[in-house]
Symmetry: C2
Subunit: 293 residues, 2 copies
């Protein structure tokens, strides 16, 4: 099987690494607008060959793993170029615009819209790791619009690298993911900004930071090139989650201001329910540890 990975960074690179491990007779062709990334990906054994967009007619599967605004431009071109028996799938963090962009494309049936809930705060081919996708969720949108045998090929690949599948319409996807992913990134970036600004006037403030701060601010290391188009393409939902978040912060601020510490306690106690939710996520992580090498 000839697999073309467009974008040989964290996601595309990790996808390539796993495919080479779990599937026989797979050849990985890398396409990247950065020649440096491409050379690095080849040197690290993440890809087998460097390729150009024109070569893509040979592909059996194309994995599009670039920032969502770039995907929006490239996906129609890729569909133009692929052969009738090729499945094109992607890793974009917003799905509504992408699905809309190709809804009338003559090769719409060759596209399977996906979003793997997997990643780290690092980027580039050096960030690619084995088993990034094991026991993670791949959200598939508008599955019914993809040709049945092409769905099957892509889903077999996802299953082979250990992903579980959830089906969802693109509008719901973008709304839900704004809460559990996009808002976390903004809260973390702004926390980082607030503390960095303070440090300008008060040196050595980070000397006092512990693992709690580190955990909360981890996502502020994420790539602006990836996240700017996500906030752009999911603007409506992101603004809504931000409004709710700011309103909750203002309410909490008011409770402290007014010395209503009974209610401050109660707010935190209710939110402790997140423990059970996180235990659910952790169960998956545990499975990864058990299944991993």
């Amino acid at each position: 099987m000839k697999v073309f990975v467009i974008g040989t960074g964290l996601i595309g690179g990790s996808f390539a690494l796993d495919l080479k491990t779990v599937m026989k007779d797979v050849e990985i062709y890398g396409i990247d607008k950065s020649q440096k990334h491409l050379d690095k990906a080849l040197a690290l054994g993440v890809i087998d060959y460097q390729a150009e967009l024109e070569d893509i007619s040979q592909a059996d599967l194309v994995y599009l793993a670039i920032p969502v605004d770039a995907s929006l431009k490239l996906l129609p071109q890729v569909l133009d170029l692929v052969n009738d028996d090729c499945v094109v799938t992607d890793a974009g963090s917003t799905k509504e615009h992408l699905c809309k962009m190709v809804e009338d494309h003559p090769k719409r049936r060759n596209y399977l819209a996906g979003h793997p809930i997997a990643g780290t705060e690092f980027s580039g081919p050096e960030a690619a790791i084995h088993e990034l996708f094991r026991n993670k969720t791949n959200i598939i949108c508008e599955v019914e619009k993809t040709a049945f045998k092409l769905q099957e090929r892509a889903l077999e690949v996802f299953q082979n690298i250990g992903m579980r599948i959830r089906y969802m319409d693109p509008v719901s996807h973008d709304r839900h993911i704004a809460y559990v992913s996009h808002l976390s990134h903004i809260s973390s970036f702004m926390l980082g900004k607030t503390v960095l600004e303070k440090e300008k006037n008060e040196r050595d403030i980070f000397d006092l930071a512990g693992s709690g701060f580190e955990s909360t601010v981890r996502l502020a290391k994420s790539s602006p090139a990836m996240w700017t188009p996500i906030f752009n393409l999911n603007k409506k939902n992101v603004l809504e989650t931000l409004d709710e978040y700011i309103s909750n912060l203002e309410n909490f601020r008011k409770l402290i201001q007014e010395d209503n510490f009974e209610e401050v306690y109660s707010e935190m106690e209710k939110t402790n329910h997140i423990k059970e939710v996180l235990n659910g996520i952790n169960k998956n992580e545990l499975k990864i540890a058990e299944n991993g090498k």
Copy 2:
């Protein structure tokens, strides 16, 4: 050496465990208002004996590891009861009120104000772990007010369990720690609240949550009994950090609203500088891994 640990939870319990490992001839007496905690701490070998406040005159070192509002009440009583050659130190997350409370106490010289930047989101004797303090910072306030030989005794213990020491005045401590610790907790609690509220109307939202969300919301598992008095006693600084955080969020919201994505990119790129800061913290964590068992 007879060590009395008041509060046999995560911090007091971990302190006791390490002392028993690294120091010879140490006897750990536990005091806790919860008999259940005390029984658990004894059963787990965290403490050697259960004790009452009246027994504390035998102590060579007292470690006060209870919520800060409780410390505020108990510290003067403890100082009343200890002998002249006993050092009393504590783990309270705010220091200004505590130092003020005992500034005119006849036994002020027996008290060393401390704040170990160490912990997890768990609580109770079961949460006590070995080497919690290794390569972590213990912030000492108003060291000059403690009798020299009592400073020495406490610092030797801290050194034995692997802590590094930073000296700071209580007012600066409370201001700095509001940024790198107290604000992280509020941002995390309110993120958890925002997503939990959304889940009421939109089920299965957490099915989409990944490790990024988990990391950002981890501190929302923390104990309300510990954190409510911290926000109370550090009210002024916490309100200030919260104002700056909310203002940064509102500004970021405005940039998205106005489609100023160039500036959105730039804000995130500048905040990426947090990477270098976190690498500093990580170096300590690495040392822990190397020195650990």
